[in-house]
Amino acid sequence: MVVVAEVRPGTYHDSVTLMAVSAALNQLPGVTGAALVMGTSLNRELLAESGLSTPEVEAAGPNDLVIVVQATDESTARGALAEAARRLAEIGATPVSQVEERPRSLRSALRRAPEANLTLVSVPGPFAPIEAEEALRAGHHVFLFSDNVPLAEEIRLKRLATELGLLLMGPDCGTALINGVGLGFANVVRRGPIGLIAASGTGLQHVTCLIDQLGGGISHGIGTGGRDLSAPVGGLTTLAAIEALGADPATEVLVLISKPPDPAIADRVLAAATAQGKPVVAAFLGAELPSRPGVTCVPTLAEAARHAVALATSRPAETVRFDEAVDETALARARAGLTPTQRFARGLFSGGTLCEEAIWVLSPVLGPIWSNVPLEPGYRLPDPRRSREHTLLDLGADELTVGRPHPMIDPTLRIERLMEEAADPATACILLDVVLGYGAHPDPAGTLAPALEVARSRAAADGRALPIVVSLVGTERDPQRLSAQRAKLEAAGALVSTSNVIAAQLAGRIVAGARRPTHRGVEGDKS
């Protein structure tokens, strides 16, 4: 095994472009690892952790493009470097003139578009606060997608936004819906009276899709970033969003989505929410908190959607149900071919919140679950590249995506892992999420389906069944079309649910066998 690197000083491509080339290199025969990244200190560390560093790489700077290939032999590695050069040249050849016409700084863009009112920032975290602050000081609201933003900067910027009366969504904000327009990764959902405030992007996507599925509609969905309800940040964005949605005539029901917050912050936020005089649903995921006057507390995304729709339509919550029936025959068939060695659930998620929710649903059924986002700190996987026992992974986490496309944008990474899990005779069921919408892969099911078929037929050749369950997040009006995606996945033999909780429960029933243990999750699922 050899590692070779090339450093191109002063050459820049955005991370999505680089990831597309990385993905192509990783497909080359003999290549065991490849990454194209800008040489920021963070990227260099991540490369080192992945065994993809060389002295040249260590010496690179943030303005230098780093290309690293790990391969079976030197000539294969050199060939991959040449392939990278060819692909980058192709990319560089077309859009240059178009890029030249673009403003080269936010300052120029602000001057060119004085009417603009919001800036999306998705540059690497160490630089993102500079752009976000400039936008705020220019009177812009900010959608801050970047992660790895220092906590101190988040606090400072949120205080500045509060002072200026502006909305700072993020950092690490993946999704928002403002007045019917999706920012970041977002689905096409019906407009309506439900306003959401979410610390999780995929959480917001899933709840808006479920609300849409239940016939409800969305006024706005405001992202806050994952740390907003922590004690140091103090819920500054959430509080600003509550005030705005409280006063917004189009919003009649407020939904808060977050991991369990700091208790003091939870009190402050819920007090502010109820003070608006609108009914509130608080989905503090994985926490079964008692409801209080004006606030319905629920533990899952599905429950948040159900209660929000009930409140918006003044119906009793019990009457709002997902009309999806579990296909018991398919389930029984999936279970039937399992051999005694197949004992463990393996989950490969692109959405961190969906992964956490599935762990929370499955833990009481299956026992402790290993993960890179574990419920219990003791079950953090020492090496997320290797599953053990029951393992559910957030494949979008930084440590697994170094120089590789996020699985929501490009399924390559996930397919590789899927094949490994499928080859493991201990795997009883594979649980996946597929997230549709703007920003996501244009046809994720079409790319996954052949891989699912290959995985299942390999297992069959080995004398094993391989049940695959998919949690499908999307709507019919998404560019990828929910029904078309569902059909492709089902044709490949997957059991599909549009509820992440139900999908996790299905996986649980497959792995736990015939016994019907205590489930937790959806009250409405009493079919």
Binding site: Y12, L118, F127, I130, L167, V181, S219, H220, A244
Partner: protein, 474 residues
């Protein structure tokens, strides 16, 4: 609108988004799919990763105010040519063995060919040495004092050597009283500033000292001084950028000077010789523009917490910058070799690394920063007026103001980009564009071409580190 009273967040919710996208195109594409067009910024990573605790410095209102004050002083300076004097009499700290040079501090051992040649010539001119070999021995033994022009209120093009007996033009800032000095431009070809030191070179320097300087001094005495800032402003609208093109400025200066010269009563042959010399040298105005620019830059220097660059200078080996709020400290890096066009018979292998104080023009919004208004010299930067336009437009990304007086017709009389902000250079990765002559790397050969050059990034990354240290501590 009816939305003023309800706060910006509620206005956003009711009006919807009008976005700018900084970062992944994916997000602008997703908006476009929904019929919303975002203004897309062609973002690039900064030259260096700022310290996390230094991130607030990039949008610090106090620094912004200090920078506005610095450019206010820069643009408010009103340089007037008031006199001609002997360098040794007016420049601070001049001894009989003091030789000033362009760029940041350097010693003989590290000096490049053209600088060594010019120092040899100046020692011959001063009579300190009777042969080049003797001059070299003196320099090697450290028997002359070398100091940057910039540290003695002076500027010099290319090698920029000023020795005590040389006459200098005296430019005074009528608004602030600070003065700056520069020698007379010798013309093109084999000249001291390109490192030539033959007899003809020394002879010309003596003519400047004996004939040109006294006559110009006498003419100025009859005038109320010549407002150089006005001449620059007019020249910029006549196709000069006052660094690599000075045809208009030279002509304007000629018109100002001629009547006063005639009235000095000097012999007509001498007056004619002076006027012919000025007429015959399209770059005569360069040194005057440089001295004027130096008064502007010095006026902007020393503003507390300002990150505006007040010096860009090269000594043929190193490029150095200084920053308004960081005292007299130089931030240096290896000078790059200019890219450009070469005279017949020469090529890039002959080129000396970047040299000269003439980048003082870029420091105050001229030179490369005004290239869009100088179509006659666009071939140096790639050939077409649109390249020149692009070069100037890029400089708006790294400057804090648009000049109140220096305006470019081709940009609808927009003011030139003025006042380079170290933070903006680091953040955008856009380095200042500098027009420059190209010297032969061997002493005594002279100019071999002209083109453009950029400072090494390390000058700005070091300056940023110093800003972080100085400004975070206070």
């Amino acid at each position: 609108m009816g939305l003023e009273g309800i706060g910006p967040i509620r206005a956003l919710l009711s009006e919807g988004i009008r976005p700018i996208n900084v970062g992944l195109d994916l997000f602008a594409d997703a908006l476009a799919q929904q019929g919303v067009e975002a203004v897309r910024v062609a973002w690039r990573p900064p030259l260096v990763e700022p310290l996390p605790e230094a991130l607030p410095l990039f949008n610090d209102p106090g620094i912004a105010a200090a920078n506005q004050e610095a450019v206010r002083r820069m643009m408010g300076a009103q340089p007037v040519l008031v006199d001609v004097a002997r360098a040794g009499d007016v420049l601070p700290g001049m001894t009989a063995r003091t030789f000033l040079h362009a760029g940041p501090p350097i010693d003989w051992a590290h000096a490049s060919g053209p600088l060594r040649g010019a120092l040899i010539g100046a020692m011959l001119y001063e009579g300190l040495a009777s042969s080049p070999e003797e001059a070299i021995r003196l320099a090697e033994r450290g028997e002359i004092e070398l100091a940057p022009c910039h540290e003695r209120q002076a500027v010099g093009p290319m090698a920029g050597v000023i020795s005590p007996s040389m006459p200098v033009m005296v430019v005074e800032n009528a608004q602030g009283g600070n003065r700056a000095y520069s020698t007379f431009n010798e013309g093109l070809g084999k000249v001291l500033r390109y490192g030539a030191y033959g007899d003809d070179v020394i002879e010309r320097l003596r003519w400047i000292e004996r004939v040109l300087a006294p006559l110009v001094k006498a003419a100025l005495a009859r005038s109320e001084g010549i407002d150089v800032r006005q001449l620059i402003a007019q020249a910029v609208q006549m196709g000069d950028e006052c660094h690599n093109r000075n045809k208009a400025g030279t002509s304007l200066f000629y018109r100002e000077l001629a009547p006063h010269l005639l009235e000095t009563g000097a012999p007509p042959a001498e007056i004619a010789a002076v006027l012919r010399f000025i007429h015959g040298n399209d770059h005569f105005f360069l040194n005057l523009a440089m001295a004027a620019a130096k008064t502007m830059a010095d006026a902007a220097h020393g503003v507390e917490r300002s990150t505006v660059v007040t010096t860009l200078a090269r000594n043929g080996t190193e490029f150095g910058i200084r920053v308004s709020g960081l005292g007299d400290r130089w931030f240096t890096g290896p000078a790059e070799t200019p890219a450009g066009l070469f005279f017949p018979g020469y090529g890039s292998a002959d080129a000396n690394p970047d040299i000269g104080d003439s980048a003082i023009t870029e420091t105050v919004g001229l030179g490369g920063f005004a290239l869009a208004g100088a179509p006659a010299i666009v071939q140096f930067i790639g050939g077409s007026p649109s390249d020149a336009l692009r070069a100037t437009l890029d400089m708006y990304e790294i400057t804090v103001a648009e000049h109140e007086l220096f305006r470019i017709a081709a940009l609808n009389f927009r003011g030139t980009p003025t006042g380079i902000d170290v933070r903006a250079v680091v953040r955008t990765g856009i380095l200042p564009v500098i027009d420059t002559g190209i010297a032969h790397r061997e002493p005594g050969i002279g100019q071999v071409g002209a083109g453009i050059v950029r400072p090494p990034a390390v000058c700005f990354t070091q300056a940023l580190r110093a800003i972080e240290e100085a400004f975070l501590a206070t």
